[in-house]
Amino acid sequence: MSTLIDNSHQTVDHSGEKATWDGAGKPFRVGYGKLMMWYFLVSDAFTFAGFLIAYGALRFSMPAWPVPDFVFRTLPFGLQEYFPGDIAPLIFVTIMSFVLIVSSVTMVRAVQEGERENKSGVVKWMLLTVLGGATFLGCQAWEWSNLIGHEHMSLTTNPFGTHLSDGYYLEDADGVAYGSTEEGQRFEAGDSYIIHKHDGEWQPRALVNEGQRPAANGAPMRESFGPKAFGALFFFITGFHGFHVFSGLVILTIIALNSASGQYAARRNGYEMVEKVGLYWHFVDLVWVFVFLVFYLL
């Protein structure tokens, strides 16, 4: 950073130490605001780590967990039908991740232009960053509305389950009993399923697990809901991250407007304010790396 004040002369003469303690020097040779942004990010990292570790602990405690490739396999406008088997596992969220990475790169460019005191460059690249962040939020809104409205996942109900043993279904998703053939109705341990909802009623399919006695009262066993914590953790953690993205968009917009007005150019400090909001924006991208890892990849 060429614009930082060089304090090295203060330690040369005898009064240097006193001047430092009077506030002349900068701790760690960075501005106060930037240092505090780093420490805010440390505390935020611990918050996110707490959430993600809670996710891991609960996931480890469950006999089965919904397979992300099964849960997240749809695209907007039914585009998943153009993929083999009419499913597009992880495709949408890969696009979301890519959008966020691109917006991080445009932010680096804005900071670089700021170091050169290039006002129009800063504003241009910051607006592109805002565009990327808004696109990401739009994608997340679609993903949530699909899960809530179409697949009926909620904070307390998780229709995505995993079979723990081999067996076969007695009826299809509409409650129609299968014929004598067992073709197409067999499932194996580890297979994923989703419980459908018609007319406000859950429709768990009747099934028989191999090696288990049929129920004494004659009522068939039915598909059970997946781990309840899945929905709550998903909406809470991705929602908390999405809220960070939203806050970032608001701050980025304000800083971009201030830059355009010439406020930071007058400070002659290499647009340090842009650098600070850039740190926050990269952190949001950094958190997404781990949210993406634990919710979608693993």
Partner: protein
């Protein structure tokens, strides 16, 4: 991004970084899909017992590399003084223990799920008029209908004196 780069060099470096992060993300998605049998030709990977551990370790490694790249090159941690980077990064080491401890704990909850459920379903008992703690006696929680509750590690009963 090191400080000695020219403007043109650092611009090129940033867009190379974009390519790097995008490529790693694509490789991660490919590995994840392959390990669950979604890639034609690699469907054998689904169901092999050691594949999830190998792929999981690779995915975690890739993600940590992405995090390192973002912090050191996009957030310019590389060009900060050492004191700043140490005060920011050293506290993250605490998370190593948090991950080990809580995942171990989660695993324990999972192993004891049946026992915990059994305890939860026990009918509430009337409180004794004299505390068994004062008597120095042993509290016994009886399993229902011959069901084996005690797994040999003293879960079913415990000695009050200890």
């Amino acid at each position: 991004m090191a400080g000695h780069m020219t403007y043109e060099e650092s611009k090129r470096f940033v867009f190379r970084g974009l390519g790097l992060l995008a490529a790693i993300t694509l490789v991660e998605v490919f590995f994840s899909l392959a390990s669950k049998g979604f890639i034609p030709g690699l469907r054998w990977m689904d169901g092999v017992s050691w594949i999830p551990y190998l792929v999981g370790a690779l995915l975690i490694g890739f993600s940590l590399y992405k995090a390192h790249f973002i912090v050191f090159d996009f957030m310019h941690m590389r060009s900060e003084v050492q004191g700043l980077s140490l005060t920011v990064l050293m506290p993250m080491l605490l998370l190593v223990w948090a991950v080990i401890a809580f995942f171990q704990e989660g695993n324990f909850w999972g192993e004891r799920r049946a026992v915990v459920q059994r305890f939860n379903e026990l009918p509430a008992q009337a409180a004794p008029t004299v505390s068994p703690l004062e008597q120095g006696s042993t509290i016994e929680i009886k399993p229902a209908d011959g069901e084996l509750l005690d797994d040999g590690e003293g879960v079913g009963s415990y000695d009050v004196d200890q």
